[in-house]
């Protein structure tokens, strides 16, 4: 098992270097100039001398290879540099947003697991009954509907319903407060986004749970377990579900990593100052250092999530580590 883990960990290094070179190059291929955007995006007139001073201050006058080396060297020393846009350390920029994204991702994952695994299992066990049809419809609906659209509708629904009942519309707070400072305000703000994101997340996981369960339920060892008279609940929980969860864990892992930086539109709909919104902002502003750091953060989360999933695989299915 240890040998397997070390091998998988070593494989992450070339992946990270490749990603670093790719993002560095791609950012510089996008036409535009952070200094001009900064000085001119308001539509006002600006001074060309200020553009030159800005280039020097941001180190954009350095040779491109020096900039690349600085970036990769910094990354492996966990020094992501300074945001070109705000002048704050990139770590500060990310740290300010990470709690929001992390909280939404965790809550959405809880929502997804609570919905997906029981419903996916029931759907498989009741295959082709009306229960199965309902669960599948709910799942397809979740996949087909973008989270942000459900988000917009849910806000409007809350506004209109509260307006109709109390006479004055209510909506969740739009400024984030950490849960340890004001739990109620925090939960009021994250509840709707977690639910809307969790629904889509649940839909994907539910379908995966159903199909994996159907496959496992047809396996010989399940038939054997039934033949030797094991209790139905034990067959399902101990033998079928544990094996069926392999692909489900993969899906949950990948989705979780996606949620950290991928809730671009949902974060905007709910005015959540998360990593996804920061990502868009960094790209629009052509903030090279911040975009590079965010991409590398996302890549690292993906790589580590996959690593954990692979290790979980090996734990759940011993054949993998022996092969």
């Amino acid at each position: 098992m240890w040998r397997y883990i070390v091998k998988r960990v070593l494989l992450t290094i070339p992946t990270l270097i490749g990603a670093a070179i790719l993002v560095f190059t791609l950012m510089r291929l996008i036409p535009g100039d952070i200094c001009v955007i900064r000085l001119g995006s308001g539509g006002g007139q600006f001074d060309e001398r200020a553009v030159t001073a800005c280039h020097i201050q941001l180190g954009l006058n350095k040779p491109i290879l020096v900039q690349l080396f600085d970036f990769i060297w910094g990354f492996f020393h966990l020094d992501f540099g300074i945001s070109m846009w705000s002048g704050h350390p990139v770590i500060t920029e990310i740290a300010a947003r990470l709690p929001v994204s992390l909280e939404i991702a965790l809550l959405a994952t809880v929502v997804a697991i609570l919905i997906a695994i029981p419903l996916g299992t029931i759907s498989a066990l009741k295959q082709n009954t009306w229960i199965d049809v309902v669960v599948r419809t709910v799942a397809i609906g979740g996949i087909a509907t973008p989270s942000f659209w459900i988000g917009i509708l849910s806000i409007l629904l809350v506004l209109n319903v509260t307006s109709a009942i109390t006479g004055s519309p209510w909506m969740p707070p739009i400024n984030y407060v950490p849960i340890w400072q004001a739990p109620l305000q925090n939960l009021a703000m994250v509840f709707l986004p977690a639910l809307t994101v969790g629904y889509r997340y649940a839909a994907v996981s539910m379908r995966m749970t159903r199909s994996a369960m159907l496959e496992v339920l047809r396996e010989d060892y399940i038939r054997t377990a039934r033949a030797k008279g094991l209790v139905h609940r034990i067959i399902i929980n101990r033998h079928a579900l544990k094996n069926a969860l392999l692909p489900v864990v993969t899906v949950i892992g990948i989705e979780f990593a996606f949620l950290i930086g991928g809730l671009v539109v949902t974060e905007q709909v709910f005015n959540l100052n998360g990593i996804g919104r920061l990502f868009v902002q960094a790209v629009q502003n052509q903030d090279y250092t911040l975009t590079q750091a965010l991409v590398m953060l996302t890549v690292t989360v993906f790589v580590l999530t996959n690593l954990v999933v692979d290790i979980l695989y090996a734990w759940l299915d011993p054949r993998i580590r022996f092969n």
Binding site: I30, P31, G32, D33, I34, V36, I37, R38, L39, G40, S41, G42, G43, G44, Q45, F46, D47, E48, R49, A50, A53, C54, I56, Q57, W85, S86, G87, H88, T92, E93, A96, R97, I152, I155, L156, L159, S168, P169, W170, M171, P173, I174, N175, Y176, Q268, V269, F270, N271, N273, R277, L278, Q281, Q284, N285, Q286
Partner: protein, 537 residues
Amino acid sequence: MRRTLLAVGFAVALGAAAALPSAATAQEKPQYGGVLTYLIPAEAPPSFDGHRESTYATVHSVAPYYSVLMRVDPEDPANTTKFVCDLCTALPTISDGGKTYTFKIRTDAKFHDGSPLTAKDVAASWHEIIFPRPGVLSARQNWYELVSSVEAPDDTTVVFKLKYSTSTFLPSLADPYAFIYPARILEKDPHWFEKNVLGSGPFKFVSYQIGQEIKGEKNKDYYHKGLPYLDGIIGIYAPKQAVQIDALRADRAAIEFRGYPPSAINQMKQELGDKIVIKSSDWNCGNLITPNARRKPFDDVRVRKALLLAIDQWHGAPALAKIADVRTVGGIVFPGSPLAATKAELQKMAGFWPDIEKSRAEARKLLKEAGQEHLHFTLLNRNVDQPYKYVGTWLISEWAKIGVTATQRVVPTGPWFQAMRSGDFDVVVEANCNSIVNPVLDVQKYLPHDVFGENYGGYSDPTEAKIYDEMLHETDFAKQRVLMRKFETRIIDTEAHEFPMLWWYRNVPFRSYVHGWKIGPSHYINQDLSDIWLSKH
């Protein structure tokens, strides 16, 4: 000289009037207390340093914490020629043939750390704006090219010396970004103000959560006695319009200071009735259409003029005003300014003729003469809905009426600037958006590229540059106005270098319990919030 400056229309009402609280009517007696929650319709500002930034996100975030030397009259911000003192005590004494401006600085102003604010701080701040040290950005440095020195001979006097006399100087001193910083910090570290706030304004900075909110509390030692009315302010960053409207509807915020398009305003009026108040104003911002004179066939004045003649601004304005942030037909000068063209003057120029059929017939004739009857080109536009894309789409339909086919290419801000700066476009939808209405400086955007770097038309026109130079140095209002007409006629009617489009229009909604705020022609000005009071706490 003093009389001359007054004659050019800058009726500067100073000193005592500015030191008094809002002249509230009997019906509207200001109340003290309460915390104003307002929306900042942007992401986090790049920095808090007004000298280096040019985004309203900075002004809306930190203007309440700073003082300035002079400003637009908060009681009458719509007046484009009225400026009042903030830190100065009286009208500057102008001597040396209009080349020396001497300000007296008030003695009762203090920074929020308790240290006194003196003329040395004012001079040091202005020195950094006009003559930034190497490595320090000053976004509007070119406004002050005419200044040769700024000094504080004593603690209450600031002297600006100019290279030549001009009417543009006084309004440019009312720049809302020209925050006064403590000289002692500025000398040590000019970058300190990028991430920190220490001013002498009506509110004291309390806290900032990146991209979330910025909080301030009342400055009890504020030198304008009786102000501010509020106990505190909270600015919440909300870049998306849908979120802002929902927040105003649910009273999560009481006001947003930039403005909304008519559809959003109508929706709010319908849903909130008398709980919402709307204030509207012409906006010192407008789109301009720039053909690329470096590219054929736009190097041909007949083609440029044909494009201009095809556009029916007089009939387009009322229709577009229903869906976009535009309203008023005007030339290159903000319509509210005394230097702006009158309707009669406008209608003499190509693109503003009252008879659109005659105008389009002339356009077709010119295209035929130029051999461009079936002209195809790409209209570069910025990926911003209001009003860029609305204006772009409307223009395409206008040009189609003379047989010209334009395809709109909408790109994000970075590539849009890149294409303009590298000359990689046929025709582009640009914008000219300014804070203080200072027409002679505002129209610099129309100067040829070899004179003004941020003109993207790619043309050279020494005649136009010469007219501008004369206008810049002219201090007699009547003569300056004649020169402005000559300059405008040259750009639009004679050469069709660029076409000014409809001026933008601001609609600012706020909850009806918010009082005291007055709208001006720019979302950059009158943002210190000291006059605002709440009738519901």
